[in-house]
Each structure stands twice: as C-alpha cells, then as structure tokens.
C-alpha cells in the first residue's frame, strides 16, 4: 500500500473537512463523514510510517500529555509513537508514580498539568465518563484512550481502518463481535461506529454478559457462537477477564472456551475470506485458539500497526492543522 495507490472506498459518505468537536470523547455523536475523514487521513499517515524518516511537522511545538490511569503498553506506546511522528512534545504519566497515589483527585491532577499548558491530554481511566468530566472542567483538547466500560474510540477507528483495508468497504458487511459484551468499551465503540457506517452487527456472549437494552442499538444478539460466525465477513473476539468468574458470570475459563472460544472448526462457518480481529491482549485458549490467532485470516498484528496511523490521524485533525504532510 503506497500513497500512489490509495484505497478507493466505494460507498462511504463523503469525508467532511474537519471534525466538529475539539475533543474525541467517543464515537457517540460522530457522523459517517467524520469517520470517513479520520480513516482517509489515516491512509496518508500510514504512508509516513513506510518512509525512512517517519516524521512530519504538524504538531511541532504542541505538547501532548498521555495520562494513563490504567496500565497499558499497547495503547500508550501507540499514542506516543503517533505523537512523536507528528513532531509533538510528548509526556507520559503513569499514575502509579504520580501524586494520584497520594490521594490527589482527578480534576486536581489534570489542573496541575494544565498549569503547564498542554494542548492535548490523552486519557485512559477506569471510570466511565472520566474524559467527559475533564472536557467540562479543563481547557485542553481531550482524547479518550479508553474510559471504564464506556468507549475506546481510537480502537474502533483502527478496527474500521483494518476492515476497510481488507474489504474495501464497511457498509453491508456482517461483523460478529464475540466475548464479554457487558464490560467491553471496545464493543460499545465498535457497535456505534459500524452501525453509523452501515454494517450489520451481530454480538455474541454468555447470557450473563449481555448488557440490558443492547438491542436498542440495532444489533442482533445471540448466545450461539455458530450463529454469530455464520456467513461473517469479520469476526472480532473480545478479551475475557478471569475476575468475571467471581461475579458468577461464567463458571470457568475451560467452559467459556468450550462454548464461546473461536476455533478453526467454528470459523469454517464464516465466509472464506473472513478476517479475524482482537483488540488485544489475547488470552490464547480462552477466547481464541492459537491456531486461529496466528492463522491466515488473522489481522491482529495489522490492527496494532494501524493503530499508530489512526491515532496520528486523530491527533492531526484535532489539532486542526492543515499543514503539509510532506517529508520534513
């Protein structure tokens, strides 16, 4: 994939020229044209990652703070790489070593940072709505890198980018999302995005892990993994957490795998050119078999590399710069 051979997307809404909000709090409230803008911009960003000198100037002189209240290697480094490629000055704060352990409130933590005038704050937090609280109280642009069980918008965007790369479209595809639906922010963001761009979404998990009222989002809910996978263009597996056994959500990882694990046999029900996705980190042998995770249809590692391009696109568009992306 090079800059001279871009993806031609046959059916998406025409891209708008700018994002409406100066924050990225979630997919909620975004329309198809904004999503297309981000994905199209990510194409150009991906090209930068293929250059020898992976750096362009749009965020030069801007300060971006990565404030991660939850441990994360993948997302945090992905944002850091994205910020550095755009020439931003980046600062990552891991809260285990910060004053948060001394009892400082979220608002005070951010206000103290703000006193040093960051342009953007990328926040990951265990409480749903934490980015929204910051957006109300603070001056910086806020980027949600995952809030509790609510949303993980850049994940859904990089998932859509990955799907679009392989399938050349998003509308009309059957996407099956399987796993712990109740606690998954990746699920919520993906449902919102995929429905906005016209995909058909099936979700599957144990009955104990289906959020109330989910059907109102226009998805098909099933507790049968075979029905979910049947004829699917995309199968997306979600992480299962061991702690959920204590809430009586399912009895054991072994039984979870036997009822809901993605194996090669189960995947045979999908389309021949099905792609298999996972936001990571994977529990091999719990939600997904290694054979599938490492197999021909898996695009899991591509998701990770697309994450940098998509996050570059998001930061670039939020910063509102339309400087050239030519090599420095």
């Amino acid at each position: 994939m090079t800059a001279t051979n871009p993806i031609v997307v046959s059916d998406s809404a025409p891209a708008t020229t700018a994002l409406r909000s100066r924050h990225l709090l979630g997919i909620d409230g975004m329309d198809a044209s904004e999503i297309t803008l981000i994905l199209d911009t990510a194409e150009a960003m991906k090209e930068i990652g293929a250059r020898a000198i992976k750096k362009v100037p749009p965020l030069r002189g801007r300060t971006v703070v990565n404030l991660f209240f939850e441990p994360s290697t993948r997302t945090r480094t992905s944002f850091e790489v994205a910020e550095k490629r755009l020439s931003a000055d980046t600062l990552s704060i891991a809260t285990a070593t910060s004053s948060v352990t001394k009892g400082e409130s979220l608002i005070d933590t951010v206000r103290n940072l703000e006193a040093m005038d960051p342009d953007m704050i990328v926040i990951r937090h265990a409480s749903s709505g934490a980015p929204h609280l910051l957006a109300r109280m603070c001056r910086s642009s806020i980027v949600n890198a995952g809030d509790g069980m609510h949303e993980h918008p850049t994940q859904a965007l990089l998932d859509a980018f990955t799907i679009r790369t392989h399938k050349k479209r998003l509308a009309g595809l059957k996407v099956a999302i399987i796993g712990d639906l109740l606690h998954s922010r990746v699920l919520r963001s993906n449902i919102l995005l995929l429905k906005t761009v016209g995909a058909e979404v099936w979700v599957c998990g144990p009955a104990t892990l289906v959020p109330a009222g989910l059907d109102r989002l226009g998805v098909t809910i099933t507790t049968s993994i075979d029905k979910a996978v049947e004829g699917a263009d995309v199968v997306m597996m979600l992480r299962i957490q061991q702690e959920r056994m204590h809430g009586h959500f399912f009895p054991s990882l072994r039984e979870y795998f036997s009822l809901f694990g993605l194996t090669r046999e189960r995947l045979l029900g999908a389309k021949d050119d099905v792609i298999v996705m996972h936001p990571g980190p994977m529990n091999r042998g719990v939600e997904i078999d290694s054979e599938v995770a490492d197999g021909p249809g898996s695009v899991i590692l591509e998701q990770v590399s697309n994450g940098v391009a998509v996050r570059m696109a998001v930061l670039y568009l939020l910063a509102g710069r339309d400087e050239t992306l030519a090599p420095q």
Partner: protein
C-alpha cells in the same frame, strides 16, 4: 403572642375543611379557624391572593449530616433549608458519624435543633448498632430520647431475622421500622439503573428487583408480625406492585416516593451534560415505566408519603468521576415546586391529596403532632403559593450543599411562608429582596 393569618384558603383534609377562612394563632397553638376573625391585637399576616393555608409539611426522610459530616450540612443549615422549602418538621436519618444508634446522639441532635429554632427535628434511630446489622440497638432507650422511627438507612436491615425481630420489638414500642430496601448482592457495585442508559454509558447497573425483592421480604414480615413497616424511597415498579398487594391483604405497610423519582428517568444521564453526578442517587433514577408506576401509585393511594431523601454532599465530593461520587441530591427546597408542577398542575392529584402526602400521612406514620389545623394543635402551618413562579438557583439554596439536578429549572408553585409553633420562620417575599 397572637398571629392572625387573614384571607387565605384553608385546606385541612384531616378535618374535611376547605374554604376561605382565617386562622388565629395564640401562644404557639392554633386557637381558632373561622370566617372573618376579628384582629383584636393580633399581628396580621395577609395571606397572598391565591395562596393556600395548610397544616405544616413534614419531610420524614432527610439527612442532616450532624454529627460528623458538618461540611455537607448541619442541623442549623438543614432546618433552614427545610423551612425555606415549606417544611415545619423533618425526621432525620441516623447515618451520621457516629451513627445515631444511641440516645446520647439523639439528645445532641435535638439540642442542635432547639438552638437553630427553625423546623422541628424528629430523629430516626438506628435499628442496629452502627447500622451494621449484627446487634439490635437499644430501641427502647432511643424512643425515650425522642426517636420516632428506626432505620439502618444507607443500608437495608441486613437479615430477615433481624428485620423480623426489629418489627416485633419496635412494634411493641409502637414505633415504625423504616427500611431502605435493597438486596446487596444484586446491587453489587452498581451506580445507575440497570437498563439501556447504563449500558450505553458503561455504568454498572442496579436492577429494579434489587429493591422490590426486599420490599416483598418486608411486607411478608410485617404481615406475620402485625407490626407497621414503612418502605423508604421507592423507585421500582415491582416495589409498587408489592406494596399494593400487601395493602390489599391488610398488611400494615406504608411507603414513600421522592420527587426526583416522579420527575426524572435514567434518560437524564445521557443528556447535554453526560455523567452528571447530580443525577446519581440510590435508589437510582429508573426507566419510564418505573416513573409511571410511581405516578400511578401516588394517584391511586398506594403511595402514602412524599419525602425528599434530602442528601447533601459537598461540591468536592460530587465533582469526581461518576463511579466515585457519593449517592444523593438535596431536595428540601425543590419538593413543593415539583409536587405542584408535576403532580397538581398536571391534574394527577388535587391540593387535598398533596397535603395528605406531605403532612397528614407523615404525621400519622411517625406519630407526631401535626397534619391538621384543628384548634389546640401546634401552630405549624405552611402557606403554599400554587401559582408562584419558581426558578431554582443552586447557589442560593439555603442548604450548605448545592447538589441538585434542578439548577435553572422553572416551576409553577412554591412556598409563601412557613410558620413553626406560631413563629414566622420563612417568608418568600422577604427572600425576593435578598
């Protein structure tokens, strides 16, 4: 000392009175109610046109936070908020710090109330020591000190056995047990009503049955013990069904609904401001069908009382992530506008029923004087203004805390004046000048 309330419409459902009458107050008691009473040296309060002279409103579910949490509210500020809201008396819950499980703490609260000299305060004592649900507190001693009810509010009465014994023992003392109905295992670490909006916002849910299962437990126990039980802050439609069925069987069960549960639903969480912690309370705002069940219960008599569950919290405590914010909103100063605007003016109930819900029934349930304008009784009177335009301004609330979801809302209906023991402790026309 004589005070004459002149020219108002007196509505006193307990005595089947509704007419243009004057009320003469002498030495803190109601002396006479009649047409065109002579002034004869009394101070005259000209009741505003259209206003209603009613027996003083009584809020039987209020958190005054003293002792221990004076940064949120004190007895002084809480009773100031009460009279500004038209309440001549409040019953305060025992989840102070320390918990009011001991006569000494009740005596402390009563002393503070006397010093403030505003609304009457009737403490509700804890059912169990520390409200931990392990050991029954000294209910007899607490009653002697002045408690009018027993509750472990903040928590349910922990076990069916303890609830049964508490009902039997408190029943013997002729004091009601008031239960905060909630099954802890179903509530878990939930923060919002389990439904579409909690799911969309990624908030852990509390299902309606967490409440109704315990309502059913309490109705059954009240049935076998023949003791009165009062269900606090109902919110779920299944709870209304359980209370209605219990009443039909002749069980001595009463219940209350807070104004926010007949005004707001969980949809409000997804409004312009998402995750507003002034919408976080326990029990939570539920869905449309639950709110409609509360309205139906208020209209058909299943609901006995409207009580605010006034729960002040300091701004610093509420200005945090939704998960971490404490549950509760203030309510003393918005109750009357909400009852007028959402119930009376929408034709669901009349003024008489409003007074039953806010005065007659509360007085009866906690067995205190009031709820009536019969001569000889204490001169606790609320002058209601059904057409007063009220705009809620949180910074101007009398409560020390301002955690209300109704900031900026406009309502039709308010309080013109509040009289406790014959003393005019609040009047809205003086407030307008503030």
């Amino acid at each position: 000392m004589k005070l004459l309330l002149k020219g108002g419409r007196v509505v006193d459902p307990a005595n089947s009175v509704d007419g243009m009458l004057d009320v003469l107050i002498e030495d803190g008691h109601i002396a006479r109610v009649g047409r065109d009473l002579p002034v004869e040296g009394a101070d005259v309060f000209d009741v505003p046109a259209g206003a209603i002279v009613a027996p003083g409103l009584i809020d039987i579910h209020v958190h005054l936070r003293e002792p221990g949490q004076e940064h949120k509210e004190t007895v002084a500020t809480g009773t100031a908020s009460a009279v500004a809201g038209g309440f001549t008396a409040v019953a305060c819950m025992p989840n102070t710090d320390p918990v009011n499980d001991h006569a000494g703490i009740t005596q402390f609260i009563l002393k503070k109330a006397a010093e403030a000299g505003l609304a009457r305060v009737y403490p509700i004592g804890a059912v169990s020591i520390g409200s931990k649900g392990e050991q029954m507190a000294e209910l007899g001693e607490q009653k002697a000190a002045g408690c009018v009810g027993f509750s472990d509010d903040g928590h349910p009465v922990r076990t069916a056995l303890l609830m049964r014994r508490a009902l039997e023992y408190a029943g013997m003392l002729r004091v009601p047990v008031i239960d905060h109905c909630e099954d802890p295992s179903l509530k878990g670490d939930g923060v919002a009503h389990e439904g579409f909006y909690a799911s969309t916002l990624g908030l852990r849910g509390i299902p309606g049955v967490a409440e109704s299962l315990m309502v059913e437990r309490d109705v059954s126990l009240a049935e076998i013990t023949a003791a009165p039980v009062h269900i606090a802050h109902m919110s779920a439609r299944q709870s209304i069904r359980a209370v209605r069925a219990g009443k039909e069987r002749g069980v001595s069960v009463t219940c209350e609904v807070a104004p926010h549960h007949f005004t707001l639903t969980d949809e409000a969480l997804n409004g312009q401001v998402k995750y507003d912690t002034n919408l976080k309370m326990n029990p939570p705002l539920r869905e449309q069908a639950d709110m409609e069940a509360m309205l139906a219960g208020i209209a058909d008599g299943t609901v006995d009382v409207i009580a605010t569950d006034h729960a002040p919290h300091h701004l610093d405590e509420k200005m945090v992530e939704f998960d971490r914010a404490p549950f509760g909103i203030v309510g003393l100063e918005t109750a009357v506008p909400l009852v007028f605007d959402r119930l009376v003016h929408r034709g669901l109930i009349g003024i008489g029923r409003m007074i039953e819900l806010l005065s007659v029934n509360p007085a009866r349930i906690i067995k205190v004087p009031g709820g009536t304008l019969a001569p000889g009784g204490p001169a606790d009177i609320t002058v209601l203004a059904p057409d007063m335009k009220v705009t809620v301004r949180a910074p101007q609330l009398r409560s020390k805390s301002k955690n209300t979801p109704f900031d900026g809302w406009e309502f039709r209906g308010g309080v013109a004046a509040t009289i406790v023991g014959g003393r005019l402790v609040y009047r809205s026309d003086r407030e307008a000048a503030r």
